[in-house]
Amino acid sequence: MKSNISFVNAYIAFFIIHTSQIGMGILGVSRIIYLEARQDAWMSILLSGLYISIITWIMISLLNKYENCNLYEIHEILFGRFLGSIINTFIVIYFIAANYSIIIGYIELSLTWGYEGFYEWGATLVLLLLTIYAVSGGFRVIAGICFLSFIMTIWLVFVMYQPLDSIKFARILPILSASPSELMKGVFKSSYTMLGFETLYFIFPFLKEKNKILFFSQLAVWFTTLLILFSTVISILFFSPKELERHIWPIVSMISSVHFPFIERFEFIAVSLWIIVIFPNLCIYLFISSKGVKQIFHLKQKHGIWVISIIIFITSLFITKRFDNDLFFDQVGQVGFYLWFIYPIFLYFISIIKSKIFSRS
């Protein structure tokens, strides 16, 4: 369909999906789910992972029907230009909001850990410029960022061996004390953290070897799920219940008990390194939203990224309070839940129905 697309290998799908799932969410997710499902929080994560893996499968079967189309184009094909554009606009707004939530989420974390007194707008500006610089390199560079960011930060998992010293197994017992509705609430609340797999809808046209994508995206989803599961289980075992409820970022508080002979207070380094973790998220979300803007308004992507960044920058001047932020993350998570946990199923059925109608007539 298009000739000027730069293709990347299918295995990159693993890195893109995984890195866009892991971001600010994982730092706080154990507490958020713990509030709903108590010590069975880890089950909510597993359920959520299972559900996402099914959704991913549905997404790929839809995408395979429209080869080399991203979601924006599929919308236009399915619903026509006008209705499609309305839905696309909504999706673009969602991605801008998600991008923004990551930026303010990180800034809040960083201000708490050692950067008190720094201007929020300054930090936003820095992160936005960094993202623009990266995204202007095109898809190949973004894929590279996902890959390198994964390599550069995955070792943080091994730092967790130190908190393992003071875990108490009794805290996770008894298993399955939460009711199914509590578990489901946990799944619902986990959406903000688990989101990121939806990028598959948009990166699919850029990938080679389409038959391998299912494998790599499932691998990514399960790897993420296991990582989040691991961090949740450790934080449940590490913190006592009331303590876990207090900490905004339990994982960071847990890393604060890590120290090495040559470095004390490792959490300060971890917080700084977290920029590399959120960097792929920012790049991918900016790329996808600018692609949407191009689809709807026919604005060139290289101008689109500037427009979107300016919007984000201006918004960042208004929301600065901790409480507002929390509400905002919650809302992004909720919208994301309906948009990417529920909507893909509908979309799939609509496309099946539509193709049946067409084949009949």
Binding site: G114, G137, R140, G144, R265, F268, I275
Partner: protein, 494 residues
């Protein structure tokens, strides 16, 4: 000689003299042949006089008159390179290249013979890339002898040395060297297109040429490997890269380069694999350390003193207590001092240079600490980072790292650890964007080619190297067919 000059007889000489702006070097020798004359025009400083005397003038004078014709001379003159069919422009450039112009006024025909006397130095040991182990021969300024070295080391009929000329005014010969059945055609095509785009008066050296051929002119990082070692050159060519040699430069250009190839040395191949793997990791570690350690010091002292272990805290604190500058300024000052010493040491004659090192290292270092201008911890750190930058086997990469250190220090002084990480992100994006001859710069790392890592990141025993690295997309991928002689023996068998 002026006696022989006759304006009517030598129209060519006058014309050439006019074009060459009355150059005093231009000579014209007129030989009497029967009634006619035979003009021999040449630049007196550029030719080898024995050649002209023995094989041109003496030879012609010995010949019986009837043999002195254009066709006979052209066929029988005892010189290897003879030119006919040239236009006026070519006459001039050939004269400037050391040719001799011979004009037979009877037949109004001319030909040129090559009596060049190039300035050559003998082949010596490599200076900038010194090896402990392995061949030590290096390229010289003469293209002919460089080609000779290459040909002698690689007697392959598929070794192509395509000739190009570059420079509008000062024309220079350039050779593109590759192995036809290994090198990728796309890369070759890109390189040749790049050459076509260069429109300039003069390319003074191969490093200038390399900068003209680069993909991104603004980058800190070199995008071609510059080497003066023929064995490194050949190793690269055999792995599917393309080399460029330019006349009057002892440094060869190799492309496409990738980031890690600047950290490999040919010595790695000569040494045992375990040692060379270790050394490569040390080099990479030194590179990262050299880039970040001063910045890390500045960030910790300025913003994150929490990170310092309690045992170290008092030592650093005490050495900092007298320093009147903020850490950022202190670090920049000391880094500049080291650069100053290095530059002065490089410019001075080698005997004085050594004293400079001692003066700088001991006297100034000691004195600044005692005066309380810097802390001695920082001296150690800066010394380490200076050493680390010299670990890169390719000089250009070392300089790139030295320069790239400063933005990191400033970022660390402004934003602390987050600043360093932002710097790392920018660097990461930059390296991802960078290409060399349209091939990704971070190649075996991203796009990931695991089987290539054994070439660029680590070394393995030699029988693992059956195939050429795939980053250069070699046409003929098989390198060796290793015959395994191992037969399974039981423990009690001999």
């Amino acid at each position: 000689m002026k006696i022989h000059l006759n304006k009517n007889n030598c129209p060519n000489y006058e014309k050439i003299k006019y074009i060459l702006n009355e150059s005093p070097d231009l000579m014209c020798r007129t030989l009497e042949v029967g009634g006619d004359c035979l003009e021999v025009i040449f630049m007196k400083n550029l030719i080898k006089h024995e050649f002209l005397n023995e094989y041109v003038i003496k030879y012609i004078q010995q010949l019986p008159i009837e043999y002195i014709t254009f066709s006979y001379l052209l066929k029988n003159i005892p010189m290897d390179e003879v030119k006919t069919n040239f236009d006026e422009q070519e006459v001039i450039s050939s004269l400037l290249n050391g040719f001799v112009y011979i004009y037979l006024s009877v037949e109004s025909k001319a030909f040129m013979v090559n009596c060049t006397n190039p300035i050559e130095r003998s082949i010596e040991k490599a200076e900038t890339e010194s090896l402990v182990y392995g061949p030590k021969i290096s390229f010289t300024e003469s293209l002919t002898s460089n080609i000779k070295i290459i040909r002698q080391n690689l007697k392959d009929s598929n070794l192509c040395t395509d000739e190009l000329e570059i420079g509008e005014r000062a024309k220079k010969q350039v050779r593109i060297i590759y192995i036809k059945d290994i090198a990728d055609d796309d890369i070759l095509k890109t390189l040749k297109e790049r050459f076509e785009k260069i429109k300039t008066d003069d390319i003074s050296d191969s490093s200038v040429l390399a900068q003209c051929l680069e993909d991104n002119h603004y980058s800190f990082f070199p995008q071609f490997i510059l080497t003066e070692l023929p064995d490194r050159f050949l190793y690269s060519i055999l792995n599917g890269r393309i080399g460029v040699l330019i006349d009057r430069s002892p440094v060869a250009i190799i492309g496409p380069a990738n980031f890690l190839s600047f950290f490999e040395s040919t010595e790695d191949i000569y040494l045992r694999w375990s040692l060379s793997t270790f050394i490569r990791f040390i080099r990479l570690f030194a590179m990262v350390g050299s880039l970040l350690i001063t910045a890390f010091y500045v960030a910790t002292i300025t913003y994150h003193f929490e990170l310092i272990p309690s045992k170290l805290l008092l030592i650093i604190g005490q050495s900092r207590s007298q320093v009147p500058f903020p850490p950022l300024l202190e670090a920049l000052l000391l880094e500049l001092l080291i650069e100053l010493l290095r530059e002065a040491g490089a410019r001075l004659p080698s005997k004085v240079g050594q004293t400079m090192g001692i003066v700088g290292g001991i006297v100034i270092g000691q004195a600044t600490v005692e005066a309380g201008l810097t802390s001695n911890i920082l001296i150690i750190i800066v010394a380490f980072s200076a050493l680390g930058a010299f670990m890169a086997p390719i000089y250009e990469m070392g300089t790139a790292i030295r320069v790239a250190r400063f933005p990191f220090i400033i970022l660390a002084g402004v934003w602390g650890l987050n600043g360093i990480i932002i710097g790392v992100c920018v660097l990461m994006v930059h390296l991802l964007k960078l290409t060399s001859l349209n091939k990704p710069y971070l190649a075996p790392l991203y796009p990931l080619r695991i089987e290539d890592l054994k070439y660029f990141l680590i070394r393995l025993p030699h029988h693992f190297y059956m195939r050429r690295p795939t980053v250069n997309r070699p046409l003929n991928a098989i390198r060796t067919r290793w015959k395994s002689k191992k037969t399974e023996k039981d423990l009690d068998e001999f």
